[in-house]
Symmetry: C2
Subunit: 144 residues, 2 copies
């Protein structure tokens, strides 16, 4: 992950093990984990890392434009290394969050601009439903 270290430094951020681990975990997993989940998972490889560092790092990476914060409506935020605006869908049964195709909303912004004269800048779009895995089977909530 040399590329990440470079991108961090471009943003004036030091490439510390904690930051690399957090970003890498976010990038690899498609789990959209919360700060708490990140903390619990990375504790194994980084036993001294504190929860405050996780929050501070997530904040730094967000400000540097390297990740986005999701507000699915739970008690806590989730984080996504994919900074392209795209809708998400959460399964109300297993609570997992999945990405949706950005094309779903591609003409909505311009339509809003035309009908409301709003200058549209960004979006947060969440759908809720039952995922294929949970349809039929009554699976439990998953930790992601």
């Amino acid at each position: 992950m040399q590329a990440l270290a470079i991108r961090l430094k471009e943003k004036g951020l030091k490439a510390t093990p904690q930051r690399i681990a957090i970003y890498k975990y976010l990038e690899d997993s498609k789990d959209h984990p919360s700060a708490e989940t990140i903390y619990r998972t990375l504790r194994e490889s980084h036993p001294t890392m504190s929860l405050a560092t996780v929050y501070k790092t997530l904040d730094s990476l967000k400000k540097a434009g390297l990740l986005q914060q999701l507000n699915v409506g739970e008690d806590s935020f989730r984080y996504d290394a994919d900074t392209h605006p795209h809708p998400h869908i959460q399964c109300v049964q297993c609570t997992r969050v999945f990405d949706l195709d950005p094309a779903l909303l591609q003409n909505v912004s311009s339509e809003i601009r035309q009908t409301t004269s709003f200058q549209v800048l960004s979006q947060q779009v969440y759908f809720y439903g039952v995922c294929p895995d949970c349809q039929g089977s009554q699976r439990e909530a998953v930790n992601d």
Copy 2:
């Protein structure tokens, strides 16, 4: 507002002055206020009403299907007496939240169902931008 009292009782809820005031305020204003804003506003007419009552009432009304909770991404929730699913847009300058036409997303749910096999149940859709009033003029954040 006799109709409201009846609707409350249909849901097994007592039609107390506090509940009526909160619901009426929500219904009349298109402000999508937070619990705190509701509290501060209704304090004038209901000086003894506590913040806890506002929260409890909002929870009861939500469970009764008489309002919906919005999660615009601020520290606190906002509330909407219009329970029909519809997108919202927030002005990043004055922080006001406006309703958008539900038709904007009318075919998105079925498209999601087709492409992901998700059974879509609900949605939370927020756009962000600069409202017509704030374009050009640098207005301050409004309390709503």
